[in-house]
Amino acid sequence: MLHTILFLIFAGICVAGALNFLLQRHPVNSALSLIVVMGSLALLFLLLGAEFVAAVQIIVYAGAVMVLFVFVIMLLNAGEEERTRGSRVALFLGVPGLIALFGLLCWTLSASRFQLGQVQIGGYYVPTQELGIALFREFLLPFEITSVLVLIAIMGAVVLARKERP
């Protein structure tokens, strides 16, 4: 019961933060509401018993990534975003499409809730040790391949940011 109440509180904060993130016009405000989203997500992970993921979420996302975001916003001295009117196609096709997708997902998840089995929030507890064993045994190859992904992302950033010689 306590879990459910906590879940509802933090899920609500998470969604509100995400909406605020989209609606704010100043980049710093958006970045700050993203921190709210990250923090409440971390708490949701904690409720699910994934303590390691929760800690990583706080340290990496809310800590490192967001600090970088704010730094970049400061360095670029980004002002308020300009509103564009938006395209009409996006309004007439996108919004109904989004609602349809959301409805479909909600319907599917609620329709299959009896088949998915019953699990209590907080009923699972995955210790970090088990996570480590899975990561360095079964998921060793994806783990190593991720280094190529990171390398290519760094290289791409360098290439695109470098000054072109005349």
Binding site: S112, L116, R137, L141, P142, I152, M155, L160
Partner: protein, 510 residues
């Protein structure tokens, strides 16, 4: 089932070779003089892709699983490995001259192509959705960056940012699909998913719960959105013309074939390897996407005056033809035919499209100034051999007999008729007729129009690298049109390997 450590390394040997070559290129680049296009690094990268190609052929001796059943080496994966390595090798050959005329520094360009190739080849041998996702991201991020490589052109930056934003959005769909699939079947390994979907039971420790099929279908649909974006099939094709127009021409040659072939390989693995094949839920998805891609692609191409945009729309249309083969797999007697037709089409399309874009990249000159139809006027007189080569590729794209494009289309529509997809076949044939207009228009412009004043004497001599690239692609295009049997046989064997659970899976539909 798990292989010995040494064999595990053999099963990712091409990936290892490509990664090492990419790292070497990165380390050597700062030691070279700052100016110039770093052709030596290009030659090294070319050798690296060739070595990876040979390593993939060597892998045929060691089929099987590796890395805790994350990797599966079989004829299917070897086919796509060889195809993708060959695409990268030819694109690197075609890039030498392009980088020089456009004054682009080569170092990271070649490293990005090599690393991107790692992602693409891994997509074709991975049988685990998390690994597939990471490989997909590697190939995508490499192409996002490569698309923005014409730093002086605003269109290139536009192309890169558009591709990046929309691509990330599409990847999110794929990832959501993976998550839902895990929720429905309790696994991310394609063959475990397959057995879960067949038995209808998910085992969780000691207990077992029934599989939620509706959830699995939604998961497949979401993954289809993500992959459909990568292969530029309608209705996820909007980005294609803008991105292809702005990106450097050799990069377009790569990204319209390599990641596309890899994404089709993943689609085949997920739709048919996971045993979702006999359910009708995805069938209409593929049907509609195929019909829309063919129609929108060809109609869009009619209106273009820019050759790169025209080829972009044609690439959408070709994704549609390929999806026809996917839809054909619905009928039990056309399964092998459909899958092997799709594999063959990917190979034939790669050969002719890389060739066409190689010619475009050569002809564009500094700053990609000459990319419109009227710039091609009189090309038949100015450089007859180049014009003839481009004509071969265009005729093959059109599907004329004695070219690879003909047999590719023939096999696809053959499979479609076999499984009674009459309407889809009719739509496809009408579209082929429409397509002949814009392909032939370019040929007419090249041969029947007078060159624009002042451009009659424009020097058009292809450098050795580009000549080699054109010769290779032209020979493969014609060879696939004259003797397609060998490649088709191999594709058929790959198709049969894809479906180890084929016989039992017919009782799945419910």
């Amino acid at each position: 089932m798990t292989a010995t450590p040494e064999l595990s390394y053999v099963r990712i040997l091409p990936e290892i070779i490509l990664s090492i070559c990419g790292i070497v290129v990165m380390f050597v680049e700062p030691l070279l003089p700052q100016r110039g296009s770093h052709k030596s690094l290009g030659v090294f990268s070319f050798v690296g892709t060739l070595a990876a190609l040979i390593a993939s052929l060597y892998q045929t001796n060691y089929p099987g699983w590796g890395w805790f059943n994350m990797i599966r080496v079989d004829e299917f994966s070897v086919f796509f490995h060889v195809l993708i390595c060959a695409i990268s090798a030819v694109v690197i050959l075609a890039s030498f001259e392009y980088l020089e005329t456009q004054e682009i520094r080569g170092g990271e360009y070649y490293a990005l192509i090599l690393f991107g190739t790692v992602g693409m080849v891994l997509m074709s041998s991975a049988v685990e959705l998390v690994l597939i996702f990471i490989a997909l991201e590697i190939s995508s991020i490499a192409t996002y960056v490569l698309a923005g490589y014409r730093r002086r052109a605003a269109t290139s930056a536009e192309s890169s940012i558009k591709y990046f934003l929309l691509g990330s959005f599409a990847t999110a769909f794929f990832l959501y699909g993976v998550a839902l699939m895990f929720g429905a079947t309790g696994s991310t390994s394609i063959y475990t998913i397959s057995s879960a979907l067949q038995s209808g039971q998910v085992t969780l420790g000691a207990s077992s719960v029934p599989v939620s099929y509706s959830l699995a279908y939604v998961a497949v649909a979401l993954m289809f959105v993500g992959l459909g974006f990568k292969v530029a099939s309608a209705p996820f094709h909007i980005w294609t013309p803008d991105v292809y127009e702005g990106a450097p021409a050799p990069v377009v040659a790569l990204m319209s074939t390599g990641p596309k072939a890899a994404a089709f390989a993943v689609m085949l693995r997920i739709l048919f390897g996971a045993g979702i094949d006999t359910s009708k839920a995805w069938f209409w998805l593929v049907w509609i996407s195929a019909a829309l891609s063919m129609t929108l692609g060809n109609l869009g191409a009619l209106l273009q005056s820019n050759v790169k945009r025209m080829l972009a729309y044609s690439s959408i249309a070709h994704a549609g033809y390929l999806l026809v083969a996917f839809a054909a797999v619905i009928a039990p007697n056309a399964r092998d035919t459909g899958i092997s037709a799709a594999i063959f089409y990917a190979a034939a399309y790669a050969a002719m499209n890389v060739g066409a874009f190689a010619v475009v990249s050569h002809f564009a000159r500094h700053g990609e100034r000459y990319v419109n139809f009227e710039d091609y006027a009189g090309l038949g007189k100015r450089s007859p051999i180049l014009a003839a080569t481009l004509s071969i590729f265009l005729l093959s794209l059109l599907g004329l007999p004695a070219t690879g494009g003909f047999f590719a289309k023939f096999y696809v529509f053959n499979a479609a008729i076999k499984s009674d997809l009459i309407w889809l076949t009719v739509i496809g044939l009408i579209n082929s007729a429409i397509a002949s207009y814009y392909y032939l228009r370019l040929i007419v412009v090249m041969y029947m129009y007078e060159p624009q004043p002042g451009e009659e004497k424009l020097q058009l001599r292809a450098a050795p690298g580009l000549t080699a690239a054109l010769v290779i692609t032209a020979i493969i295009t014609i060879w696939l049109g004259v003797r397609p049997a060998g490649v088709l046989d191999y594709a058929t064997r790959g198709a049969s390997r894809l479906l180890p659970s084929f016989q039992q899976s017919s009782n799945l539909s419910r």
